[in-house]
């Protein structure tokens, strides 16, 4: 008897296992297949900082959550409908995110005495009735995997490593997804070892067939494609989108891209991604440290390239002095900070939004730098492009803030046409007549970009205070006062170049929820849900953190209350209060995890009751 097929609008699945169990891979395969089917989706990889944490331990659990649907999806999902748990630790750590009545697929073989002890279970939870409010399917995944490939005579280690494909196969069956995309991926990925291709493919099919032939699952589900805008799509993570946005800007500007970077979680994928595109003449310099990363990028910018450096919070701290140098030199530079939990080493693999004030103010003296924040994984493309455009137009360093959640999260992306991207005109100064290194464009206040190799423009620049116009070293009190104000004025003036901020919802009302960065999806979901209930609540999401867009102050005046949810202790709230003298209500969480929509909804309810 074939299981009946139920239609669902949206589903959230969480794959969880040891950090060596391949859960990230399983999740990303499920994501790709789901994206290809035309669902909208959002993902949340959640993994420990240890590469191969001791097997079976609670702190070694690696999870990957995907929320997909036939409707618009903005968050990785507050709770999950299905939890795949490869061992007791994975069950224990993730059970709180499973909704009541949700499905547990457990690898029964993983629930052995040793693992139960490591997960601090005295009795096997699969047998003691403690999971009665869920639909539990305990499957002998390890055993079934072994059986599926026993005739290939592979080592136990390889068999052990294939078992995640069994879970993936089961999930493909349960949610009516085809296997071909993953089979193709396996063939490509393991092409040097045909026996692994064979093993993984067999196990994947075995998992699928297990769902098909056994009758333990009562239902399978279908999630129809979402009604997304027409066009060509791809699945993209925030870090990929950041890398591509930078390449796109370099291509539009007609300049070479130079990345100086030191590996750091969770920003390294941008370095990896940019290192691949040699045929775009992208030069990647894996520097000896964070400081050399930015210093080399400044050197490249001085030479006429688009200098970029990528990092996370601790690295941004190390780059501070060099950022001040870039402010003084007035050279274009893009600094990408993929924020993670801090302070210090903090929580390297977890997300946070607590570098905002470091980005806006964290330098010695008055060193204004424009700050742009990406708000969705795919949105990192546009944000990186815009950061580069501003850097080049205004001859200034620009900081792009993303975060661990955006960096690793994936979503479908409507691929833009290259023609639709804003033009980035760049002109090097070449006229030797009356050349002055610190003369200014009347409108943007940008100084000329005069690169070495240009005859007649030999000049000296540096970190010492510059004399207005000539750029000579100047210790004059009046000149210093003037130049400090001029640099501030230049950055403030960028606001003239920015589109007006827009509100989602009503133009005035009881409550405005103001956010920035990666909280966009959760706030959007929460506000939309509350609006459906008839509540007077709107959303303003700030992409330009410094300078703010010109109409932000006006917008804030139109609401009785302002709520600012942030994954920090209130950094945007501080900036808004300081600049606009408006009272704001803060909602803060610093758990290393993104907001759930229901957390914001609860606060909205509280404020509007």
């Amino acid at each position: 008897m074939a299981a009946k097929i139920e239609k669902l609008d949206e589903v959230t699945i969480r794959f969880a296992g040891d950090s060596g169990d391949g859960m990230q891979l399983t999740g990303s395969q499920f994501t790709n297949t789901t994206a290809l089917l035309g669902n909208d989706l959002s993902t949340l990889p959640d993994y420990p900082a240890e590469i191969r944490a001791p097997a079976g331990t609670l702190f070694g659990v690696s999870g990957f959550q995907i929320h997909f649907g036939s409707k618009e999806i903005s968050t990785p999902g507050d709770t999950c409908d299905v939890l795949v748990a490869m061992n007791p630790a994975a069950l224990k750590v993730n059970l709180r995110s499973l909704r009541d009545g949700g499905i547990i697929i457990a690898n029964r073989d993983g629930f052995n005495e040793k693992n139960l002890k490591l997960a601090e279970y005295e009795i096997n939870p699969l047998d003691d009735g403690s999971l009665d409010k869920f639909q539990v399917h305990a499957v002998d995944i390890t055993k079934l995997t072994t059986l599926a490939i026993q005739e290939l005579n592979l080592s136990t280690k390889i068999v052990e490593r294939s078992k995640n494909f069994f879970s993936l196969g089961m999930m493909y069956w349960m949610f009516s997804r085809p296997l071909d995309s993953s089979i193709k991926w396996i063939q490509e990925k393991f092409k040097k070892t045909p026996e692994i291709v064979e093993a993984n493919t067999r196990v994947l099919k075995a998992g699928y067939n297990y769902g098909e032939t056994t009758e333990i699952f009562h239902a399978r589900y279908e999630v129809k494609p979402a009604s997304l805008a027409p066009g060509r799509y791809r699945s993209i993570t925030g870090n990929e989108a950041t890398a591509w946005g930078l390449i796109a800007a370099s291509s539009k500007a007609g300049l070479d891209l130079f990345l100086g970077s030191y590996p750091i979680t969770p920003a390294s994928e941008i370095l990896h991604e940019l290192s691949r595109y040699k045929n775009f003449r992208v030069k990647t310099f894996q520097a000896e440290d964070e400081i050399a990363g930015i210093a080399s990028a400044i050197g490249a910018s001085y030479g006429g390239s688009i200098g970029v450096t990528t990092t996370s919070g601790p690295g941004l701290a190390l780059k501070t002095e060099a950022m001040g140098l870039a402010v003084m030199l007035e050279l274009p530079l893009v600094i990408v900070d993929v924020q993670r939990g801090g302070p210090s080493t903090g929580l390297p693999t977890k997300t946070e939004q607590a570098d905002l004030l470091q980005a806006v103010h964290g330098r010695n003296s008055e060193a204004p730098i424009p700050v742009i924040a990406a708000c969705t994984p795919a949105g990192c493309f546009e944000a990186a492009y815009e950061a580069t455009r501003i850097a080049l137009k205004y001859m200034t360093p620009v900081i792009l803030l993303t975060d661990g959640y955006l960096a690793n999260g994936a979503e479908p992306w409507l691929i833009p046409s290259p023609d639709s991207l804003k033009e980035i005109p760049v002109k090097f100064h070449t006229d030797a007549k009356d050349f002055q290194p610190y003369s200014r464009d009347e409108k943007t206040l940008a100084r000329p970009w005069a690169i070495p190799g240009t005859p007649g423009l030999e000049h000296r620049i540096g970190g010492l205070e510059k004399e207005h116009i000539t750029g000579n070293v100047s210790y004059s009190a009046e000149n210093h006062d003037f130049m400090v104000k001029l640099r501030q004025h230049k950055v403030d003036g960028i606001a003239e170049d920015l589109p007006h901020a827009t509100v989602d919802g009503d133009e005035r009302g009881d409550l405005l929820v103001v956010g920035w960065g990666g909280t966009y999806g959760a706030i959007k979901t929460a506000v939309e849900n509350k609006r459906k209930e008839g509540k007077s609540v709107s959303q303003l999401h700030i992409k330009y953190v410094n300078p703010f867009q010109k109409n932000i102050g006006e917008i804030l005046k139109n609401y009785k209350k302002i709520l600012v949810p942030e994954l920090n202790l209130g950094q945007l709230a501080l900036l808004l209060q300081a600049k606009y003298l408006v009272p704001v209500i803060k909602l803060n969480k610093v758990e290393g995890l993104p907001f759930r929509a229901d957390e914001i909804e609860k606060k909205i309810d509280e404020l509007l009751k």
Binding site: G260, G299, S305, G453, P455, R460
Partner: protein
């Protein structure tokens, strides 16, 4: 760089003119203390550059912080006065981005070996074609007289009134240990030798490291006088010349010979040893370069100056260019369309 030529296409191409030293003097007043050894280093660089036929606009001097790092202001070339210790990193980025430029770094013992030590060893190992002149005065001058990483053990300074507890770096050994492909030592008070070293460094393809003994007449006067002054120089300095035996002394009557791996000074007068017993200097001999560099730390030996080591090996920027060219040959020039649409995509109607 693809687009620079295009963007600079309107600029009239000027043929390389014959320069004189004066052409490399900028309009800025030189503000080093009167009598500082830096003046000589500046003068020797300005004297050698005209011989090299490098267009002025293709020359860039990059520096960090310290007395030596004011150097770029006084050169009528492109100049970049960076932040403390980071000149090597800034220069690396510039050279990799623009391999056709001639990039030089002016640094000091504090800037290059203390705060910038990390960047220094990494530029050496990568062999980026940058010329590094390290002004070694064994003191912090700009901050008014603290001991530096090359100050001798026990040195009494403002920050070490009871004597410096630090063991110093030997800059040449640091450079050799970091696999630098060109390593030399010159002295501010030996212009001819210094010019020769600068000339050879300029022609070298790869990181060229030059340590220059430089007198700080305010905070560490006479630190190198044994090696630089007429009365003592000949008996205390051996000038390295490729392919020639290591002879020194006022009367050219002393030499350096190896006993096992240990260099010793011998007399050629008493008939016990002849020129045939002496080390023949070989710039390409890696092992010898370490032994010669080590001589500074050993007692009763003259101080070697000149070119210790010079071998050619592939530069970092050559490999970067090779990878880019080979990728373009294989995949074609990248276009935005290709980037955005490669790999797995799907169409929603």
């Amino acid at each position: 760089m693809k687009h620079v030529d295009e963007l600079l296409k309107d600029v009239p191409k000027i043929s390389v003119q014959k320069y004189t030293a004066k052409d490399f003097q900028s309009d800025q007043d030189v503000r080093w203390c009167p009598g500082c050894g830096d003046y000589s280093i500046l003068a020797q660089v300005q004297r050698v550059l005209p011989e090299l036929n490098i267009p002025k606009h293709n020359l860039v001097f990059v520096s960090g912080i310290g007395c030596s790092s004011r150097f770029p202001y006084y050169m009528d070339t492109y100049g970049f006065h960076g932040i403390h210790g980071r000149a090597a990193a800034i220069a690396s980025g510039l050279k990799v981005a623009r391999p056709e430029l001639s990039v030089w770094v002016a640094t000091g013992d504090g800037d290059g070996l203390s705060i910038g030590g990390n960047h220094f060893i990494h530029i050496c190992r990568r062999n980026i074609d940058v010329k590094v002149i390290l002004f070694n005065n064994q003191i912090y001058g700009l901050t008014k007289g603290q001991y530096s990483p090359t100050s001798e053990f026990g040195k009494v300074t403002k920050s070490s009134p009871y004597g410096a507890p630090d063991h110093p770096f030997n800059p040449l050994l640091v450079a050799l240990g970091a696999e630098a492909s060109f390593v030399a030592r010159g002295m501010d008070r030996d212009p001819k030798l210094l010019q020769n070293i600068i000339r050879r460094a300029a022609l070298h393809k790869g990181t060229a490291f030059m340590e220059v003994y430089q007198n700080c007449n305010v905070f560490n006067d006479g630190a190198f006088f044994t090696f630089t002054e007429k009365e003592t120089k000949d008996d205390n300095v051996v000038v390295l010349e490729h392919g020639k035996p290591m002879i020194f002394g006022k009367e050219k009557d002393k030499g350096i010979k190896l006993e096992g791996f240990t260099p010793i000074a011998v007399s050629l007068k008493d008939g016990k040893y002849s020129v045939n017993d002496l080390i023949i200097h070989d710039e390409k001999d890696t092992m010898l370069s370490f032994i010669l560099a080590r001589m500074s730390n050993l007692p009763n030996l003259p101080r070697p100056v000149g070119i210790f080591y010079a071998v050619e090996r592939q530069t970092y920027e050559q490999e970067v260019a090779r990878q880019i060219e080979s990728s373009i040959t294989k995949l074609g020039e990248g276009t935005l369309d290709k980037l955005l649409n490669h790999g797995e995509t799907w169409i929603i109607k």
